[in-house]
Symmetry: D2
Subunit: 435 residues, 4 copies
């Protein structure tokens, strides 16, 4: 069956990270050309990071192609190696799932998901299973494909190795985003040696494992990941922008629930507030809609909403200082003081700790349902990598995060600050540029 | 005066092209933080090229910082070299003009400018001279600064060397965009050796010249430029998207002038149509506004407008075939035939030749008011570079462009095509991926 | 047969140009481990270029592996494409020839070959056919292999496509050296897009052709080549070192033929002078032998030989000025004058024009027995590339070379130079650093 | 004084690591052109590593230029920053010391130094202080310069900050070699962000410190260093070649002391054996002398010396297996067994542990007289970096090394191995290719 789906001539996309992305299967080509996949061009890969690292303007479209390409390379290496533990019939399914795994991401996903209790995996599945162009392409391959792809994305598919390629501690998703985010931000911490990692992974009894002699390649990858998390993903300026978004959506939700009449409220956002969002609404929910809505909202009557939106668009982000979360007296004092000065702490102050994020450093246990990385020795026995690698053990337990208090920069200029507040704010970082 | 404007501590921006961008002057820092400059984050540097090269999602914000940085490096080298022909007092002015030179670019500039007869240089000047944050920062340096910056951008400033740094055949603008567009698309044709070029340029009697022994460095730069123009900027898939935009704006304008009632028409667009655009409107006119408007327009009653917008957003671009513009019979036949099939040639067919574009290859004459590149020999005599360089002479006269006919892909599938039309369409390129 | 020659596990070499070099065949692995192939570690790839570009210290060993790797990639692409015109049974033979094509290169080949009328291709064949480890490995594959490999290297093998892969206008040899020499010198002119070129070449009726839509990829490669020739390979400082070598060998030969008694003359060099060089001598003739001999020769009684060797080792190269070869009076005057000053023009002066070198720019005709590059259109018709490409046509005819007169720098400091000589020497380049 | 030493026009060297190396001072230019500095072109930077990573053929010449360039950049940043703690008058002295710090390295330094109890720092000082071209250039700047430069290199100079630039935990030497060795081997572990590190170091009370906000930049550098040590510098294949060299020199020394008559023994080597080496001998002692001597020695009557030399030149390196150094019974058994088989354990077996090497990972204490890295906080207080950085603390204590037993590969093929020896050798790595 699958042979009939080959393109007459291989297609290529020029890609700055992988040089070229190769498409040999017609369904992959057709999926790329669906309107749902094209929508990913209007969703940034790194949310608000572009406000810290101006190069980080790349979209989930390019990342999705990259995940597809790495998956293609892994499978192609498995096929060349002739490993009996690799289920060859899963190839096209794997590629589809890799390409589509981020399909349900919304604009500035993290903030919206948190405010409205949504999950992008769920929306990916709704788009795959609903009345969409993507669904039609998948069904044309085989009527079972939409369900299977959704199964892989929700991790309920019964062949673990297929799920692992797309989502695990050593998956095509992470490998692409580390390299891609490193390339577009311009930092080189993300630069591990992809070819070397690909060469040492193996299918083994339904799992993905690493041959022991390849341990250093994986160490290198995990050290890159460690550096990227702390220096890109958890960058406090990015967090600051994220918290601003959170305040905007939080304020809009409260206003909506209070019956406030918005001068401008796009249909999909209205239905999002009402929990009536349809797949078609979701399709329209992209970053240009959100950004142009924010621009309109700078004219809203509600001064808090208008101000927060202007801050976001014009990048007047919150400042931040390290804070001891146990020191409740000082924090309470600060919040009272800012309220007196006219800033509602609900929207203008936040204490943040880099924890509950979609990114993590490697940890050996089965956190978030993610199987740890196993090394396979010459006798085909498996060892969790941190039992063998000092460096992995040492970085997997590290926490560098600090609690930070975020607040409007105007407060720094306030005269007559109480002594405790002055002491607190003296630790403030200078105007946030990136490091 | 200028010393008092230095920052206490240098600020840096991480940049993937120049590694770091250094800011030592407070006014530069303040200009970057204006809302007008931040708006450039919402305008893509390469317009529709991201539809051909998916990496090309970078904004005019990052390019503007890059032009500033190259200008800073050139000036710093002039100062180190101690050249008497370099007017040291122009430094800060030059840096401001370099940073702001693209301030007035609108969303998908080329198409909008063509449809509504606007010029981005004019809007840059309006934003610099009008009631804007940028204007206030400039006036704070010196009351004459807004006029001077506007003068440099409109090329009326009386010190040619200052104008040349920002706009000439060998200016900081081109040097940055060749490197940056090469980096983000992933092609390496744009990779010339910037340090080497910077080392061989000199101020000389009010002009920028190249010392003769540096000729090869400039040849290398011009060859990169030549390759970039033909392979990136004039790529037919990008042209196809551009023509689609042109049809959208053209259709909207006709509808508006005919009194059509748009279900959705943002204020700035309404005033654009009425030729009543204000500086504040222009500030709001960014790509998120245009893209979200297109999304709304996919529901407009006018089927042509709705269809064109859906094509653009979902990347169903026009196909193209090479065509002989002298062969009017065939062209007329084709246009008639497509009209019969229900496609209005006014919006669905275009013949394009890569000519009237903001990009060009190097030509020795004083085209577009741009002074050619002069080599200065050991006796301080000047020679236009193509008189000395075989390679520059050979590429500066070359034209590789072809006329292309663009049309909806659906026409390829039409049964019963007249023979002449079948012959014409047989030259059609396959589904456009990039090369 | 060939299957039994596969390695149980693929071997890799880390390579800075291709990232990794993959070896799947046991005979390739065995050839790399022969002493004749290991000898290539002691021969620099770029002869004297390291005296101009200090990074250019890489050996023919690394280049040979690179040529092998590119050939492997081309063949692998031909096999994946399933082209009927590719003779699959030639695979291993091709790989062996690619790996061994430079086996017979001697130390600073060009100078020695010129002085003693030798050819490295001939020595490659002698090493392949003689009593060597290489010969034994080849015979173990198949008794016909040594002859076939020698045939490919001497271009007498009857399957032109096999010869073309190793030696043609678009061969693996050139592709590797452009990239490799660009990498190690640090110049980026050599950076063309290898993957893109590999994707557009095809086997066609016994020849290697380029599909027409890939023309730009080949233009890009030819422009890189053009730049590399003029800026690296023909660099006058490199020429200066080359001419010094030529004088050393020329002087030693004259002395030897005159019966001079060398205090130090290694056996292989003695037999080279006597035209009695054996394969075993040739094996020992590497750059460490030549350099340590030069060091000994700095103590020879013959002052010319001693001085020339010290100049070479301590990099006191000849200076140079452009000269008009037709102006015989000035040249004669100069040579007479330098002789009066005590410098023998036979060893201390040379006029050089970049012509008779192993490098060339692309020319459309069948020069040096090298078939030009053909584009294949959709109708499978062939067109020599310069008939289709303006840019190739324009650079293939260009000559940028100038005649240069080389001489000892001491002459510049001579007082009381005759006027004509002063005028001539005033054009002298400053102390040669690289550009 | 120093101004008169400026070059009229800056000179540049093209460098693949730093793009360009800039020389503005005449004495630097003159030092580069001395014969002692040019000799460094004939000493490889990484000793035997080229036998593991074939790209690692770069010389100490290019590294020395790189150390100079990084020092120049640091000083230039100190001057721009106007730090009062930087002694501006030390600039030229610093640059000279940086350029010359490796002048006394011999061929394959580590092995020769170990066998003959020599130290390259001592030879650097002898070349700087003796009757050499380098000495003359230094004296021409100022009669005190040779002593001062020697003082810096021997770490006895009284301004610690000057010594620190050339030799400390964060010196120009290490920064260049990590980047350079990474570039030439092709591994990217060595790629830390040099510009970022340079931006965060400061002169402070006679020391070099790091401002606290730059901690991540230094973490990044130390992680690169950690990776490079374990994956490049301590690579067992490189160790294997190193041990072979050690056996060669050890055997030659024993033979010489026993009165053996060498058919070929170059003067400098003879005097090395006699401990009578002069500065002029040392000048001649380069890798071409050693390699050509090894080639001659393959014909020596002593079979051990001849065999070891052939192994080295033809890269038939020792194999290796991990071994427990406490298991003396097995080791003794193995050594006895190999002696019975005809291999003298003194030259053909070694147990190695990566310890006593010129490389190390960062350790917080003042090991080897190297001051640890201090962070300076906003109150100008200093903190040793591992007290602040979890990641530095975790990697600075790690030991990944294993004891390895090296032996001739022929032993693997011996039939009838005793059981304990078979068990031991079963752990043998396959034919050493690089990872």
């Amino acid at each position: 069956m699958q042979n009939s789906t080959l393109l007459i001539e291989e297609k290529v996309f020029k890609d700055p990270v992988h040089k070229y992305i190769y498409v040999q299967d017609r369904p992959i080509w057709d999926l790329v050309n669906t309107k749902e996949f094209q929508r990913l061009r209007r969703i940034r890969q790194l949310g608000t990071s572009y406000l810290t690292f101006h190069g980080a303007e790349h979209s989930r479209f390019s990342h999705s192609l990259g995940v597809y390409e790495i998956t293609r390379k892994i499978i192609s290496q498995f096929e060349r190696g002739g490993y009996p533990d690799w289920p060859r019939e899963e190839r096209l399914l794997c590629l589809c799932a890799a390409l589509l795994h981020d399909l349900g991401h919304g604009p500035f996903s993290h903030s919206i998901e948190k405010t409205f209790a949504m999950h992008h995996e769920e929306w990916t599945c709704r788009m795959v299973l609903g009345d969409t162009e993507v669904n039609r392409v998948l069904r044309d391959i085989d009527p079972s494909f939409p369900d299977k792809v959704a199964g892989i994305i929700c991790k309920s598919y019964d062949k673990e190795i297929v799920v692992s390629l797309v989502s695990s501690q050593l998956d095509a998703d992470r490998m692409d985003y580390l390299l891609r985010d490193g390339y577009f931000t311009g930092v080189n911490y993300g630069t591990f040696d992809l070819e070397r990692v690909l060469r040492v992974i193996r299918p083994h009894q339904g799992h993905l494992v690493v041959k022991e002699s390849g341990m250093h390649a994986v160490e290198d990858y995990l050290m890159s990941r460690y550096q990227m998390y702390w220096q890109i993903y958890f960058h406090p300026v990015t967090r600051s922008a994220e918290l601003l978004l959170h305040s905007i959506f939080g304020r809009a939700k409260v206003l909506f629930e209070d019956g406030y009449r918005f001068a401008h409220l796009p249909g999909p956002i209205r239905r999002l507030m009402r929990r009536e969002l349809t797949v078609d609404d979701y399709f329209r929910l992209d970053e240009s809609l959100v950004q142009s809505m924010f621009q309109e909202w700078t004219d809203e009557r509600d001064p808090v909403l208008a101000d927060l939106c202007a801050r976001f668009l014009n990048r007047r982000l919150f400042k931040y200082v390290p804070v001891d979360p146990e020191d409740r007296d000082t924090i309470a004092l600060f919040l009272d003081w800012m309220a007196v000065k006219g800033w509602d702490p609900l929207y203008y102050a936040q204490i943040d700790f880099p924890r509950d994020l979609p990114y993590d450093v490697y940890r050996p246990g089965e956190l978030e349902g993610k199987r740890p990385i196993y090394l396979m020795d010459d006798r085909k026995e498996l060892h969790e990598i941190s039992t063998k690698s000092d460096i992995v053990r040492s970085i997997s337990g590290l926490h560098q995060g600090r609690h930070q208090l975020f607040f409007p920069g105007e407060l720094l200029g306030e005269p007559d600050k109480p002594e405790a507040i002055r002491a607190l704010l003296d630790g403030s970082a200078p105007s946030p540029a990136n490091p």
